[in-house]
């Protein structure tokens, strides 16, 4: 990172001081083996993001693998990004997933999976059915959103990224990311009202 670089190139920006991954990031930049900590921290979130975008376990694993390999390769250049580590990582994932979708030469045709969790033991069957139906309805509504709005919803609700980070991932301003979220939730509210 930039901490030990007093003579940074003009225009190069430091990673934000509030980045919670900064310490582990410095360690990983000094010693490749320390990347494992960041890998374990973000594996499920990257995988989840990829799966919700691609709708297929194999494709999601493939995209996750490419994301982490690319991140590991590019780790020494991170100080030029000016974003938090996780925004940077999700940006790599975002681009990898876009490429995967492009290479399939079609949009995601698989519906978002509705039954992802095993039912709790001793759960009320009628309640389970209702919950599954409700989830399917929400998934369908999310699935029908335009691409950029769906991505904002996934990044915000599955991965817990802030609007600022979503803007960095999608190459937009923080305000634009907020507006996209507002529009997406307005669309969802209308769709779920029906």
């Amino acid at each position: 990172m930039t901490a030990g670089r007093p003579n940074r190139a003009p225009g190069a920006r430091r990673a934000p001081a509030g980045d919670p991954d900064l310490h582990d990031l410095h360690a990983a930049q000094a010693d490749r083996a320390a990347f494992d900590v960041l890998y374990r921290r973000y594996l499920d979130r990257i995988y989840g993001y990829a799966f919700y975008q691609l709708g297929d376990h194999h494709d999601a694993e493939d995209a996750t693998e490419r994301t982490f390999l690319a991140a590991l390769r590019a780790l020494p250049t991170f100080h030029d990004e000016g974003a938090t580590f996780r925004a940077w990582l999700f940006r790599i994932a975002h681009n990898t997933i876009l490429n995967a979708r492009r290479s399939r030469q079609r949009g995601r045709t698989e519906p978002l999976p509705a039954d992802l969790e095993p039912p709790a033991p001793n759960a009320d069957p009628a309640g389970l059915l209702d919950a599954a139906e409700e989830r399917r309805r929400v998934m369908r509504a999310v699935d029908e959103l335009p691409d950029d709005r769906r991505q904002v919803v996934l990044l915000r609700f599955v991965d817990g990224l802030s609007s600022r980070e979503i803007g960095q991932v999608m190459d937009r301003s923080e305000g634009a990311a907020r507006v996209l979220l507002h529009r997406a939730l307005r669309d969802l509210a209308t769709a779920l009202e029906r």
């Binding site: 290479s103 609007s163 979220l181």
Partner: protein
């Protein structure tokens, strides 16, 4: 010049944040486990956000995949790059089976043609050599 007091008061009572900003903050609260209090215009949007939050469950990656990728990431840089390049090339080729089939067919034809040409030339050379040798008495 100092502003009139009435104007200052009116300005400060105006909402300074856009609906998108207020919704963003409400979603922040929702994601941290609280039920945000919002204006009636944003209430349906927060309800939708709450439904989405319950529906989009986090998905764990498989343990075998996790272990496999961890070992790839831990591999020395050179080996990892070679494995990555081979994997990338394989994936790229497998994505276009027609191209793979055409390449295979052309390669097979080229090998077949090459072998035939060599066989014919060797056969012709032998024939010429046999013709030049003196006849047995």
């Amino acid at each position: 010049m100092p502003r009139p007091a009435s104007l200052t008061r009116r300005r400060s009572s105006l909402p300074t944040r856009t609906p998108a900003e207020r919704l963003d903050q409400a979603v922040d609260e929702l994601l941290s486990g609280h039920r945000p209090v919002v204006s009636p215009e944003l209430a349906p949007l927060v309800d939708a956000a709450s439904l989405v939050r319950s529906a989009l469950v986090p998905l764990p990656a498989g343990t075998r995949f996790e272990a496999r990728l961890a070992s790839r990431l831990a591999a020395p840089a050179g080996v990892a790059q070679i494995v990555s390049a081979v994997g990338e090339a394989t994936r790229r080729e497998l994505r276009h089976p027609a191209r793979l089939l055409i390449t295979g067919a052309i390669s097979s034809a080229a090998v077949g043609l090459g072998v035939t040409v060599i066989a014919l030339r060797r056969g012709a050379r032998r024939h010429v050599e046999a013709g030049q040798q003196p006849a047995h008495r």
